[in-house]
């Protein structure tokens, strides 16, 4: 068992549409500066930096970190699809937990293009080829954006199994918009009704346009340190990482051919189980959750994967309002990927930022009452899933 790792500073930029943001190094350094200021730590005290992004040439991390200072520290560029941000966070945590460093920073950023995600390198094997083959066997390929087909297909499979209504998926978007309306960092602040969500352009049944996260530009950062470091800097009662686990694909992602498993249900369930065991806490101890709602279908699946509700009960969980203020948990108080936005490399650290604010009671209008245990779920196809539990005593 390693040392306790504290998250002493967080920061993020307001998320923006493609074309409406600063360049990546400007966003990333703004988030990094905010996190350092929040921690009250000078950049000169940072021993290592973990920089996460998906789209960009090599060493964008350095370019971004150099804006904070040229201290010559190691900078690691991290790329793990949509779970990039929390992968950077995990590496940062390991460096402190293992005693290699006292204080490190993780920065995630992304400058995205308009339109659905596609493949950048077409002269080589696509990394999600095996996933795509499962999909093509189960439901074929269509013209819809590939990610929407994958998660939409998982939603279909769930519907088939449990008879879930389209409105149930739409209800998640409605909730996300409601939460985001109170988050000044979110890309969408306008609420939407279930009917409006259903009436938006069909993408891949049951998904409609407003049930897909938008391409987003933004950055987020977190400063992590040891207890000793926190003590020296007079930081009292910091938020700390109670447990964290990453999983990658298991055989079940590919066989038997199930869309739900292919999009990472078992990865999520496996990572959550490890986290609960390590922390000695269960889902019942959690008050607030930031989870990977790239599509409404995945938020619904993740309720069950994380054990927030029993298998097959997500629909009831949703209509009972157990995923929002007044219910059992508040999921995605920030608005989530659906409404806050999903800059791939930044998302994991933006989730972390929101949860740290929540645990410190700094979340303003969207504060979850008496939040002291928080859960984060960040998923990337290809694949990786990072689940993190935060506490503040």
């Amino acid at each position: 068992m390693g040392r306790r790792v504290n998250v002493i500073g967080v920061g993020m930029t307001k998320f923006a549409k493609p074309g409406a943001s600063d360049d990546y190094h400007v966003m990333a350094s703004a988030a990094g500066r905010a996190a350092l200021e929040d921690a009250g730590v000078a950049f000169s005290e940072i021993e290592q930096a973990y920089a996460g992004y998906v789209y960009g040439d090599s060493t964008c991390g350095q370019r971004a970190v150099y804006e904070l200072g040229l201290t010559g520290i190691p900078v690691f560029n991290v790329n793990n699809n949509c779970s990039t941000g929390s992968t950077a966070l995990m590496l940062a945590r390991q460096a402190v937990e293992g005693g290699l460093c006292e204080c490190v920073i993780a920065i995630g950023f992304e400058k995205m293009e308009k339109g659905a995600l596609g493949s950048k390198f077409t002269d080589r094997t696509n990394p999600v080829e095996r996933h795509a083959l499962v999909m093509s066997e189960v439901q074929g390929f269509t013209q819809a954006p590939p990610a929407a087909q994958m998660f939409g297909g998982a939603g279909r499979e769930y519907q088939w199994k449990h008879g879930t209504k389209r409105e149930t998926f739409a209800k998640i978007s409605e909730k996300a918009r409601k939460h985001a309306a109170k988050n000044p960092y979110a890309i969408f602040n306008q609420p939407l009704t279930v009917d409006e969500v259903l009436a938006s352009d069909p993408v891949y049944d049951p998904l409609t346009r407003y049930q897909c996260c938008p391409p987003t530009c933004g950055a987020a950062a977190a400063v992590l340190c040891s207890d000793d470091f926190a003590k020296k800097h007079g930081i009292a009662k910091p938020v700390y990482i109670a447990a964290q686990a990453m999983t990658t694909d298991l055989p079940s992602s590919f066989e038997p051919k199930s869309m739900i498993k292919m999009v990472g249900y078992d990865m999520a369930a496996g990572a959550a189980k490890k986290v609960y065991e390590k922390a000695g806490l269960g889902p019942q101890d959690v008050q607030v959750v930031e989870l990977h709602d790239c599509f409404t279908a995945n938020e619904l699946l993740t309720y069950e994967a994380l054990g927030l509700c029993k298998e097959g009960e997500a629909e009831k969980f949703i209509w009972d309002g157990d995923n929002t203020y007044g219910g059992k948990f508040v999921t995605n108080p920030s608005g989530g990927l659906l409404s806050k936005g999903h800059p791939l490399g930044a998302t994991g650290l933006a989730q972390c930022t929101e949860l740290v604010w929540q645990l410190r009671g700094q979340a303003g209008d969207r504060q979850v009452p008496s939040a002291h245990v928080a859960l984060q779920h960040n998923l990337g196809l290809g694949g990786a899933c990072v689940v993190t539990m935060y506490r503040r005593d």
Binding site: T122, E137, Q143, R156, W160, G163, M259
Partner: protein, 1005 residues
């Protein structure tokens, strides 16, 4: 780093009493060499003799602990110096030829003595010493020799003519000794030192001489003499701390053809190549030096010859870069007007040349084929792209003869590629003939026309080359012509003809024409050429321009616009007409030695295709991948937005038969190319037939993939973007297949409408089946004949056929073939006709789109409405019953309304529920099916009792199943497929999705 040592080595340094020699000797001795210090002790100019200089150096060496012996012989007695080494130490390893003197004087003052003395000391002396040493070194299998040359020799230096000669002479000696000594490890190098020695005091300022210490030269000499140095044959400049190696650089030069006399003028013309250093080589030995000469030997064999105006070897066979162009109906009509067509606007035959909507068909005048080909040559010439070796200007040439042949009637519009080459060059004595062949290909790469343009080049002959055929061809027989046409041209004819592309001001500008000695602008020879074509077609081809095959003429004299052309024609055979054109007013022959050939029948589209697209093994009557790609070309042109949307380069590789096509929907305007391309995003490998099935929506790519029939490499995800393939109109595919000759069209007067289909299993065209259906309809509705009162003649193309619907006489009927007196004639393509009959195309729109042409009583065409009243099902039925069993891969018939399957299924369900009342209870809900294409709705109420089935909708349905009629049939066959259909989005469920798990009640219906 260890010191380079010379222990045990014995070295001779000549001229070692001072300066460079002394420095070399001291350095070698300091590193263990035993040195023969040779110095005659003379003055710098060769006078006197003394032992003092050598002794001093020996003393110095010995003082420093080295070994040395003095020698006072002149280098002219080289053998003695060598002997000193052998006598003292019994061996010799190193010879440094350093001794030298100066006799500087400008050349005009130089005496023979100055010259010879320098030669003797430097050249002869170096020779004598080295020659005496040579065999000892060879025998020992080791030797290092250094010669001392000079920058004066390399570059020249005022006042040192003798010295320069000697120094570079040593370099030549050194170069060859390096070659001769290499095998025996005797390595030979030359230095060109610059040092402040007693020799240089006279030519360099004192300050510089002081700065150039011999000690900066000797280390290079010592290194070249060391056993570790393997350099040989090198030349080094050294001094003042600088050391560098020299080599020869040669310009790329120019090779003159050995078959031709090379003149000084030719040398001057090629001077920049001979003397320019833009491209250079660095030959290191004689072989490399000879390379270009050896390479040029081949040119001696040529027999073409030529002169300064024409180089037959260079020009003959040269292929000019391809040029693309296009034309359309407007170009054809303008050309036809330019060659006099349409003078009688009521003449139907001629109208067909100029009016694109003419009911009897719009056809190109075949002689037009010369226009785009010549324009292509002119455009190349304007860009300066001409065959090499044709070095004459336009002012020397006259269009002497023209041959134009077409492979099939020219289509009304085409995109062309012209490929020209110099086919023949003839030496006619004083003048020359240059024949340029231009092959014109259509978009599919099929040859459409070939032109041979014979240029008469004034004053360019006389090199004694081939004279070419001399027999007079196409000479009119000695009898009265079989036909004569006299036609007056319009005074503005040239102004009209030039708009087809020959912009030469000679045909428009009076001043320009005068300058060339013509009283006024002249008519284009090719304009007369077009007149003649029209005249022959009118008289010997029944006025059908499609029978024109080729024309050959000699341009003998000019015609002025407004003059009268008299074309005299002699029929040599049914397909060959010899003719000449005269100017009536002046009785001059303008076109002579001329003939036109005709096709015996209008050529059909050729079946011949490149092997990759239609191998012999391919069965006829099928659509092939190649057809799809040819169709795609047009489709992509019509849908430029696809490029942005799809953004992918697809590479297809086919088996059975093998072939490859690339579909670029990423770059530029998109492209379809046969073969393989670089940079494909995804490569799909599959059988030709499977691709066709896939493109026509009959085979599912995923199924092919998982069945191992489709292999995908590269970006697998990109393959999902292929959906657009299924949006291509099947009728277009069929057209492409017909064009490629794989689906025969029904011939006029072929199978009778209601009769059996053509024998032999080949597929009859869709239209034949429809006419069969119409015949049934017409016979069943005799009242139509009275109402419509019209005889419609249909002339269909692609494939060609003719049908008549007689709704005027008797009870009305449908006749295959042409009828005598139709009221109206409709010309359109087979597929447009099918589309019209199945309600997919509107006759008005076809007409205004130029796809339907009417002649006769155009208003009667409005009576065609009855076609729409024919029950499509009846037509479909007729089509099915008349159509022979077609192979699976043939074109899908243009959507004839399908018969709904849902009624039968739900009727069967009703019966099943009645028989098995328990079924309803298993579901216990009211569900509805919203079936599409064709649209029907059904309510299945399973809430109570035995259950009920009815057509319609019900707001209380617990679930609505939205499904295509076809898919419903699949579902009914196997309700287990429900999940698969649901996941594929083919079964949509509104309401309780789990009721879809309980569709077992449909099983087997």
């Amino acid at each position: 780093m260890s010191d380079l040592r010379f222990d045990q080595r014995v070295a001779i340094v000549t001229g070692a009493g001072g300066g460079l020699g002394r420095s070399h000797a001291l350095l070698l001795a300091s590193r263990g060499a035993r040195v023969v210090v040779n110095d005659l002790g003379g003055s710098a100019t060769g006078g006197g003799k003394s032992s003092a200089a050598a002794d001093r150096v020996v003393e110095e060496i010995k003082k420093a602990g080295g070994e040395a012996v003095a020698n006072y012989d002149s280098v002219e007695d080289g053998a003695k110096i060598v002997q000193t080494a052998l006598d003292t130490w019994g061996r010799l390893d190193i010879v440094v030829n350093n001794a030298g003197i100066l006799r500087d004087t400008s050349f005009q003052k130089m005496t023979q003595e100055d010259w010879e003395l320098i030669y003797r000391i430097h050249v002869l002396g170096s020779f004598r010493v080295t020659h005496a040493a040579w065999n000892h070194l060879r025998d020992a299998g080791y030797g290092r020799i250094v010669f001392t040359a000079s920058a004066a020799g390399i570059y020249g230096n005022f006042g040192q003519a003798n010295y320069s000669m000697a120094k570079l002479g040593l370099l030549g000696l050194s170069n060859t000794l390096a070659i001769e000594g290499r095998k025996k490890n005797v390595l030979v190098n030359t230095i060109a030192p610059i040092a402040g020695s007693r020799l240089t005091e006279t030519v360099l300022p004192k300050e510089l001489v002081d700065a150039l210490k011999p000690e900066f030269v000797s280390p290079l000499v010592a290194y070249l003499c060391h056993e570790s140095c393997e350099e040989t044959g090198g030349l080094y400049e050294v001094g003042g701390g600088f050391m560098g190696k020299l080599r020869w650089e040669r310009s790329e030069g120019h090779c003159f053809k050995l078959s031709k006399l090379v003149t000084p003028d030719a040398v001057a013309a090629k001077w920049s190549a001979i003397a320019g250093f833009e491209k250079t080589t660095h030959p290191t030995d004689i072989t490399a030096s000879m390379q270009p000469i050896l390479g040029n030997l081949g040119t001696a064999k040529s027999k073409g010859g030529g002169n300064e105006l024409i180089d037959v070897d260079e020009a003959l066979g040269f292929e000019l870069p391809p040029v693309t162009s296009s034309y359309d109906e407007r170009d054809l009509a303008l050309y036809a007007l330019g060659v006099g067509a349409g003078q009688n606007p009521l003449d139907g035959k001629e109208l067909g040349l100029v009016y694109e909507n003419w009911g009897d068909g719009f056809h190109a005048l075949g002689s037009f084929a010369v226009v785009p080909a010549l324009n292509a040559i002119m455009s190349l010439a304007k860009q300066g792209k001409q065959a090499p070796g044709l070095n004459y200007g336009l002012e020397r040439i006259l269009h002497g003869e023209q041959y134009t042949e077409i492979r099939k009637p020219l289509p009304p519009r085409a995109k062309l590629t012209h490929k020209a080459r110099i086919k023949d060059i003839f030496d006619k004595g004083k003048h020359a003939l240059v024949v340029t062949e231009i092959k014109t290909l259509d978009e599919s790469g099929e040859e459409l026309a070939v032109n041979e343009l014979t240029a008469f080049v004034r004053g360019a002959g006389g090199w004694g080359g081939e004279r070419g055929p001399s027999a007079e061809v196409n000479v009119p027989p000695d009898r009265a012509p079989d036909a004569v046409v006299t036609e007056k041209t319009s005074p503005g004819q040239a102004l009209l003809y030039r708009l087809s592309g020959d912009w030469n001001p000679l045909h428009a500008d009076p001043g320009f024409a005068k300058a060339f000695g013509f009283e006024r602008p002249i008519l284009h020879g090719l304009c007369t050429f077009g007149y003649a074509t029209r005249h022959v077609i009118a008289n010997f081809a029944g006025g059908d321009p499609r029978l024109f095959k080729s024309i050959k003429v000699r341009f003998a004299d000019t015609v002025f616009p407004g003059e009268t052309i008299v074309t005299e024609m002699w029929k040599e055979s049914d397909t060959r007409i010899v003719f000449r054109c005269k100017v009536a007013e002046r009785d001059r022959v303008a076109l002579s030695n001329a003939a036109i050939e005709l096709f015996s029948e209008i050529p059909r589209p050729k079946a011949a295709e490149p092997a990759a697209t239609a191998p012999a093994a391919a069965p006829a009557g099928e659509i092939h991948a190649a057809d799809i790609f040819l169709t795609l070309r047009q489709y992509i042109a019509d849908h430029p937005e696809l490029v942005g949307k799809v953004g992918t380069v697809f590479q297809f590789k086919f088996a059975e038969p093998p072939g490859a096509w690339a579909l670029d929907l990423k770059n530029g305007a998109g492209a379809v190319t046969e073969g393989t391309v670089g940079g494909a995003d995804v490569t799909l490998e599959l059988a030709d037939a499977d691709f066709v099935g896939m493109a026509m929506g009959k085979l599912n790519p995923q199924k092919l993939y998982f069945g191992g029939k489709l292999k995908i490499s590269g970006n697998v995800m990109a393959s999902q973007k292929l959906d657009f393939l299924t949006k291509i109109d099947p009728a277009e595919l069929q057209k492409a297949a017909v064009k490629a000759g794989r689906i025969p069209g029904s011939t006029p007067g072929g199978a009778p409408a209601a009769g059996p289909p053509a024998a032999g299993g080949s597929q009859a065209s869709m239209s034949a089946a429809i006419f069969g259906g119409i015949k049934g309809y017409v016979e069943a509705h005799p009242e139509l004949a009275g109402k419509v009162g019209t005889v419609f003649q249909f002339k269909l193309s692609e494939p060609e056929s003719a049908w008549a619907i007689d709704l005027k006489n008797g009870g009305g009927t449908v006749i295959s073939g042409a009828v005598e007196k139709p009221d109206v004639t409709l010309s359109l393509s087979d597929s447009d006709f099918v589309a019209m009959c199945t309600g997919q195309a509107d006759p008005q729109k076809l007409y205004f789109g130029g796809k339907l042409k009417l002649s006769g009583n155009v208003m009667a065409a409005q009576k065609l409405d009855f076609l729409k009243k024919i029950d499509p099902a009846e037509v479909a039925k007729a089509m099915t019953s008349k159509k022979p069993a077609a192979p699976a891969a043939t074109a899908a018939p243009p959507a004839a309304p399908k018969e709904a399957k849902s009624p039968a299924i739900f009727k069967a369900l009703e019966e099943r529920l009645a028989k098995n009342p328990k079924l309803a209870a298993e579901v216990g809900k009211l569900v509805q099916f919203a079936v599409s294409s064709p649209d029907r709705s059904w309510v299945v109420d399973l809430r109570s009792g035995a259950g009920a089935v009815r057509e319609g909708t019900d707001a209380q349905a617990a679930a609505t199943f939205r499904i295509d009629d076809e898919d419903l049939a699949v579902l009914a066959k196997d309700p287990q497929k429900a999940k698969d259909l649901f996941m594929h989005g083919k079964l949509r469920v509104d309401g309780d999705i789990r009721l879809a798990h309980k569709l077992g009640f449909l099983n087997g219906l």
